[in-house]
């Protein structure tokens, strides 16, 4: 564990001592999520989203396991079994809406979590592996969400499966064979549905495992913080429990309230109406679009419209779509600025917000049919997306003039209180506990 001043677990009663010398699980929890984990004291609300993402996964697993008891993964009855859950299973409608809306919320939370990491430079040394494990989780989530969407076996399920597995057919020579292998046939059918159900059940637990690694990797250097300055001593940290457990509980309350509002009052607002039509291989929907959380990547996929350098346009799109995520694995080595937090990087901060806007507009464009002006817009923004990470950021990190950093976290906290006048007079001299 990281800091020498971390509180050590002291077993109190007989039973605690008995367990501690045999299976020190309480000691483990104490060090991971309890008072034994010293955390920077200046974490803002954006640092709630890691815990929120973990809870969102647990909600998906619990609702999903119960839905799995009533769902039937067979093309002739899959859609009916979903409607059976909605109509005849006690509380089934609530479970299913929680699961469907929960996927959207999980992604929303994870996107904020990722952008938080981008803004505060949480991918920089010594947290590169932590960042990369996060990206692995993100990729697993995307695969899981896609396959879960297919299970409904509505129109958009079927055609989504056809389109996404069709991406692999763009690979030269072996592509069509790979698509057939993935689908277990020449088009999405029962074999596809069955394997997707199996994998959709498996991958969340794999994700859970990677999350444990993610938290493990987090606990080695400890959490980053809004200043990006390293923890210097005990005055910079507070124990995770009770401080951040209390803050996370409040954050969870806000999250669940918003979640409940959508689940109970607008459960279908985030979905596609076409998926309430049973899958029909003979009728293609007018606009095939994935769920909103894939839209930016869908826009990138469709942005490449011309063959170039003997590579067909479709393959360019597929390469670019995968590259748009995979390049994030190299981010710690692309952005070489020694300053982590964008709070002290004025140019990089401005570019961060430009990038956020670009991703949002790419998302909007990705949700639209492939018509002008959306195609042109996707193309320009896709160019910017790649330029941002591969060209602009490496250059900026090299030449940018950064602002002076505070000497320590507690100094930054004191300066903030002094500015807002929210500190008791006389308390300025001594650092807060």
């Amino acid at each position: 564990m990281s800091f020498p001043w971390a509180k050590q677990y002291q077993p109190q009663g007989e039973f605690s001592k008995f367990i501690d010398s045999r299976l020190p699980l309480p000691r483990f929890i104490y060090g991971a999520l309890g008072a034994g984990y010293p955390t920077p004291k200046n974490l803002n609300y954006f640092y709630n989203f890691g815990v929120l993402a973990g809870v969102a996964l647990v909600v998906q697993i619990i609702t999903g396991v119960i839905l799995g008891m009533h769902y039937a993964a067979n093309v002739s009855v899959a859609f009916d079994s979903v409607e059976h859950i909605m109509r005849d299973v006690n509380g089934g409608w609530m479970l299913r809406y929680m699961h469907a809306v929960g996927a959207s919320f999980f992604f929303a939370v994870v996107y904020i979590h990722i952008f938080r990491g981008l803004y505060y430079g949480s991918y920089k040394p010594p947290r590169e592996v932590l960042w990369m494990l996060g990206l692995v989780i993100f990729l697993l989530m995307m695969a899981t969400a896609f396959m879960g969407y297919v299970l409904v076996w509505g129109q958009m399920s079927f055609w989504g499966a056809a389109v996404i597995t069709g991406l692999f057919s763009a690979i030269p020579v072996v592509g069509p064979a790979i698509q057939t292998w993935l689908l277990g046939g020449f088009s999405p059918d029962n074999a596809t549905l069955n394997r997707f159900f199996s994998l959709h059940y498996l991958l969340p637990f794999v994700t859970f495992g990677v999350i444990i690694l993610h938290i493990w990797a987090l606990h080695i250097p400890g959490s980053n913080n809004p200043t990006g300055v390293d923890v210097k001593g005990p005055q910079d940290t507070i124990p995770f429990h009770p401080y951040y457990t209390a803050k996370d509980f409040f954050g969870l309350g806000v999250y669940f309230t918003l979640f409940a509002a959508v689940v109970f009052f607008a459960p279908n607002a985030l979905g596609e109406v076409d998926n309430y039509i049973p899958a029909n291989p003979l009728s293609t929907p007018a606009h095939i679009v994935p769920e909103w959380y894939f839209w930016p990547f869908y826009a990138i996929l469709r942005a490449f419209t011309t063959d170039f350098l003997f590579i067909p346009a479709k393959l360019w799109g597929v390469i670019a779509m995968f590259a748009s995520i995979l390049l994030l694995f190299f981010l710690p080595w692309l952005d070489t600025s020694p300053v982590r937090s964008n709070a002290y990087r004025p140019l990089s901060r401005a570019l961060f917000w430009v990038f956020v806007a670009v991703v949002i507009v790419l998302g909007v464009a990705g949700g639209k049919p492939a018509e002008e002006p959306w195609v042109m817009l996707s193309q320009v923004l896709t160019a910017y997306y790649f330029a941002h990470f591969l060209i602009i950021l490496p250059l900026v990190s090299r030449f940018e003039k950064t602002l002076p950093l505070p000497n320590s976290i507690s100094e930054a906290v004191l300066a903030k209180y002094r500015k807002t006048g929210s500190m008791a007079p006389g308390a300025l001299a001594q650092p807060a506990e």
Partner: protein
């Protein structure tokens, strides 16, 4: 080295995608369908509650029963509601005996004592039977068109409840520039503008309501749209009730969570006082 590679790769992607961007675009002919197509009207529904916000709201039982009557006497000539069971009709305010009687008035496929295909009277556990045994039969009878099952129609169309009512009341004379093929009808709310369904609600008093409500075309369309909203989302009322309770609980829990958070952090964040002047 990584940055050099990134620069090269970045330039490659940028050039490729922008090369596509500067290609001349095919002139898109003006899309007449898009121009004539109308978005569903915004209609006030009792199940959307105050302000039509969708937060509160319940189904009007009498209205649902009227809507069911319209379905039975008009729509069911071609459209099934195969996901709805007769027992579900209790939600409409029918008594157990009434539900039983309604079920008994339907024939459902069965197998007789000697194993041959036959029909029997439906029980409350049965679902509403299909109108046509299969798609081919439906198309053969409907001049090639397939009347969709209506169980989920208000969830399977954008802005569903508004859409159904707008469509039912939206038939009109086609504009001069639009050609309607024989056997189809012009309806600006339909995605392709040409719908195979003849205007189903064609005259006032097409049905005679048992509760004495005047059966105007507008009224019948409204009633049946409410009924079809229920067939698509039979748990709507339970959902909203649960939602209100859940939100109240969560707000209280969150407020308590906030207070305890402030309390726990009191020694970290000193109480706010005005700066000494």
């Amino acid at each position: 080295m990584i940055r050099l590679g990134a620069l090269g790769l970045g330039l490659l992607f940028v050039v490729t995608v922008l090369w596509g961007a500067i290609q001349p675009r095919d002139a898109v002919p003006p899309n007449v369908v898009e121009e004539l197509h109308k978005h569903p009207q915004e209609i006030e529904w009792s199940f959307n509650g105050p302000g039509n916000l969708g937060i509160l709201g319940t189904f009007d039982r009498a209205q649902m029963q009227r809507g069911f009557q319209v379905y039975k006497e008009v729509c069911s000539a071609c459209h099934s509601i195969n996901r709805v069971a007769f027992r579900d009709l209790a939600d409409l305010g029918f008594s157990a005996a009434e539900v039983k009687a309604i079920a008994a008035s339907y024939e459902v496929p069965s197998i007789n004592d000697t194993g041959e295909a036959a029909t029997r009277k439906a029980t409350t556990a049965d679902k509403f039977p299909l109108i046509y045994p299969n798609e081919a039969a439906a198309r053969a009878a409907q001049n090639g068109a397939l009347p969709p099952d209506l169980s989920l129609i208000t969830k399977a169309r954008e802005d569903g409840s508004n859409y159904v009512k707008s469509l039912l009341t939206g038939y009109e004379e086609a504009p001069k520039k639009w050609n309607v093929p024989d056997g189809l009808y012009y309806n600006p709310y339909f995605h392709s503008l040409n719908i195979a369904m003849p205007p189903p609600i064609a005259a006032d008093d097409q049905v005679t309501y048992a509760d004495g409500t005047k059966a105007s075309m507008e009224q019948m369309a409204q009633d049946v749209s409410v009924f079809l909203t229920w067939t698509a989302e039979p748990k709507l009322e339970a959902r909203k009730e649960t939602g209100v309770a859940a939100i109240i609980f969560l707000l209280i829990m969150t407020a308590l969570g906030y207070l305890s958070y402030r309390r726990v952090w009191a020694d970290i964040k000193k109480p706010k006082i005005a700066p000494a002047e």
